[in-house]
């Protein structure tokens, strides 16, 4: 205990004698590859946890949208008789699957910082891994769901070479989901109302997007809104790929452009605001 009697060196003295450069404590260490791998790990974990413990497991990823599409088809073709066309079940299933991925990604990305507060308060890390991994995890089911959609397209006889466009669909969902999800996640720790705003906003956007209905049956006065709805291009592209709908280049371009802009804005805003997450979450 003799060493304990030495008095504490003053900071100024030590700072000048220190030969090693010390980075600020809040600087994030680790390569992009390291945190990218962690994002992937977190996405896999989220994906696994979603179905962990249920008997049917991954089966729910197919069954849920199928049941929903079946109910909606019955409702709109047999009860209200507003939907037409022999392909309506495939039409609505395509829309539902894409919408659920987008909605699930945005919702869980929004709350992801608060959901992982225990880690953020303890381990220095870039918080952006949380919203990114949430969006990634909802997209993991897409390749498997595509199989169902393609089987549907074969069954309805609408499969063609356009199906090669299908892989662009999850890319667009990823861009839009990441951009919007990071943006909303950036504000959620400070303003918890954001969660409800997002949920309500998504409900509105669901009906503003032709998921259940045919856009050509919209009154002309409302059709203009479709052009500024980035989700329209996504579902429209999926239906081009699977149902031989004419390719709407304009709508797809709007989705892609909006997605790219959202990602940039979302990440920039996130980087600015995430510095206070450990204090707020």
């Amino acid at each position: 205990m003799t060493a304990t009697t030495t008095t504490m060196t003053t900071t100024t003295a030590t700072a000048t004698t220190a030969t090693t450069y010390l980075p600020p404590a809040t600087a994030r260490e680790g390569s992009i590859a390291h945190w990218g791998a962690i994002t992937w790990l977190l996405a896999k974990r989220t994906f696994r946890l979603r179905y962990l413990g249920s008997r049917l497991g991954l089966g729910w990823a197919f069954l849920q949208p199928l049941v929903q599409a079946a109910v909606l088809t019955f409702l709109f073709t047999k009860v209200f008789k507003v939907a037409r066309g022999p392909h309506y079940p495939l039409y609505v299933l395509t829309g539902i699957m894409i919408w659920q991925a987008f909605q699930g990604g945005v919702n869980s990305a929004t709350t992801s910082a608060v959901d992982n507060a225990a880690l953020l308060r303890k381990i220095p890390m870039p918080a952006v891994v949380f919203p990114l991994s949430q969006v990634l995890s909802v997209l993991m089911v897409f390749p498997m769901q595509s199989v169902i959609l393609i089987i549907g397209a074969i069954a309805f006889g609408t499969l063609g070479p356009q199906v090669l466009l299908l892989p662009i669909v999850p890319l667009l969902v990823a861009l839009l989901g990441t951009g919007i999800g990071c943006f909303t996640c950036a504000f959620h720790p400070a303003v918890r109302d954001v969660k409800f705003v997002v949920e309500s906003g998504l409900l509105l956007l669901f009906y503003a997007t032709p998921i259940l209905y045919d856009p050509s049956r919209l009154p002309a006065s409302l059709r203009g809104f479709l052009a500024i709805n980035p989700m329209y291009g996504v579902v429209s592209l999926a239906r081009t790929a699977l149902m031989q709908q004419p390719f709407d280049l304009g709508a797809t371009a709007i989705s892609l452009g909006a997605g790219a802009v959202f990602v940039v804005i979302g990440l920039l805003v996130f980087r600015r605001r995430s510095t206070t997450f450990a204090d707020l979450a």
Binding site: T12, A15, P23, T276
Partner: protein, 382 residues
């Protein structure tokens, strides 16, 4: 000398939760200058709310300083809320994988160290069960084991001795010393003054977010004891007991049989507790009592002075000094002696409050609750 952590005028002010205007005392931590060099263990002591956790968070870099600057070595292992962030539904193995990666280990490193992590945590049998089936001790052992497996340059330890049972604690302390030998700087926060005393090279005392004293461990612990004895609101003892009490405790200190103040005691020591009381009004004959508690824990013994001489009536404004001799037959740890005073038939209690805080050292090898004073009396060939 390589430096592992430098804080320069570091401070933290948390935004007020209700978004009201910021008041001057919203600072959780202020004006901290602190360095931790390689191979050094620096302890931070202070009462609850003194800013110790905030200091650790600033050092970890999970929170940004509102003032000043915090710089540190790249590889940090925060032993803060160990196990926090484990997912209850995932197995121990899966949680180690993710946690290790988050703490900066590469995939290969995690795989290579997994066995030794599990070994250290003593959880081989259950490592493939979901951690929700673990006891809280197992949970913390696993968290601790992952964090210290990272070969950190800077180790941040919050209440290390809260982890697991005694043999595991000893193992942790050994491991912490090993990490120090390997050249890491260690910053450690504890209420366990015996641990602070035996581990640290230097110490920093925080009080209400501000550094009160930094320097040698004995000096800092001594000052901390004075602070604890002064009661919770600062100022003189008895101030918080209400100005109305007829008799108030003015000061209290712990002295050894030679009448000298001491910071660290051994099991079996005799302690003189010197109390100064002042009567605020005339009182009749009164009685005195004392209680021994484990720091932050339960009562060990209580004594009501039925065998003590009656305390003569006191006049208003009169001061008296009482000295209680206490036998400290307790094991290593932090202890508090509460003293109380009341009137003869115990219908009125004048005061009853913590008087002295005692740190009992581990150096005689006595741990647990009481010191049962074993003596090796014979040694022969059977």
């Amino acid at each position: 000398m390589t430096t592992r952590l430098v804080m320069t005028g570091a401070g933290k002010r948390y935004p007020h939760p209700s978004l009201r205007k910021r008041s001057a005392d919203a600072w959780s931590l202020k004006d901290v200058d602190l360095t931790v060099d390689a191979g050094e263990i620096v302890a931070v002591v202070g009462r609850n709310g003194a800013g110790k956790s905030t200091l650790l968070k600033l050092a970890a870099g999970v929170t940004h300083p509102s003032a000043g600057e915090v710089r540190r070595a790249r590889r940090v292992a925060p032993l803060i809320e160990v196990g926090a962030g484990f997912h209850p539904d995932l197995t121990g193995r899966e949680n180690v994988g993710l946690n290790g990666r988050l703490l900066g280990m590469s995939d290969r490193e995690v795989k290579r160290k997994l066995d030794s992590i599990v070994e250290f945590a003593e959880l081989r049998a259950v490592i493939d069960s979901p951690v929700k089936t673990y006891s809280s001790g197992m949970f913390m052992r696993l968290g601790f084991s992952v964090a210290i497996a990272t070969d950190p340059e800077l180790l941040l330890v919050d209440e290390v001795l809260a982890v697991g049972d005694l043999p595991f604690q000893v193992k942790c302390l050994d491991r912490i010393r090993e990490i120090r030998e390997s050249g890491a700087g260690i910053l450690f926060v504890s209420h366990n003054l015996a641990a602070v005393q035996s581990l640290s090279d230097r110490a920093l005392l925080l009080e209400r977010g501000e550094p009160l004293l930094s320097g040698g461990v004995r000096e800092v612990i001594g000052r901390y004891h004075e602070l604890l004895a002064l009661g919770n609101r600062g100022g003189e003892l008895g101030a918080e007991a209400g100005g109305q009490a007829a008799v108030q405790l003015i000061s209290a200190r712990a002295l050894d049989p030679d009448g000298q103040p001491r910071e660290l005691w051994d099991p079996g020591d005799r302690v003189l507790v010197e109390l100064v009381v002042e009567a605020r009004e005339d009182v009749g004959p009164s009685m005195i009592g004392a209680t021994l508690h484990k720091e932050g824990g339960g009562m060990i013994g209580s004594w009501l002075g039925l065998n003590a001489p009656k305390i003569e009536p006191m006049r208003a404004g009169e001061r008296r000094v009482f000295t209680l001799e206490v036998l400290l037959n307790v094991a290593a740890g932090g202890y508090v002696i509460d003293v109380g005073m009341g009137d003869e038939d115990l219908s009125v209690t004048y005061f009853e409050q913590p008087a002295v805080h005692l740190a009992v050292s581990t150096r005689l090898g006595s741990t647990g609750l009481v010191d049962f004073a074993p003596v090796l009396v014979e040694q022969g060939h059977g």
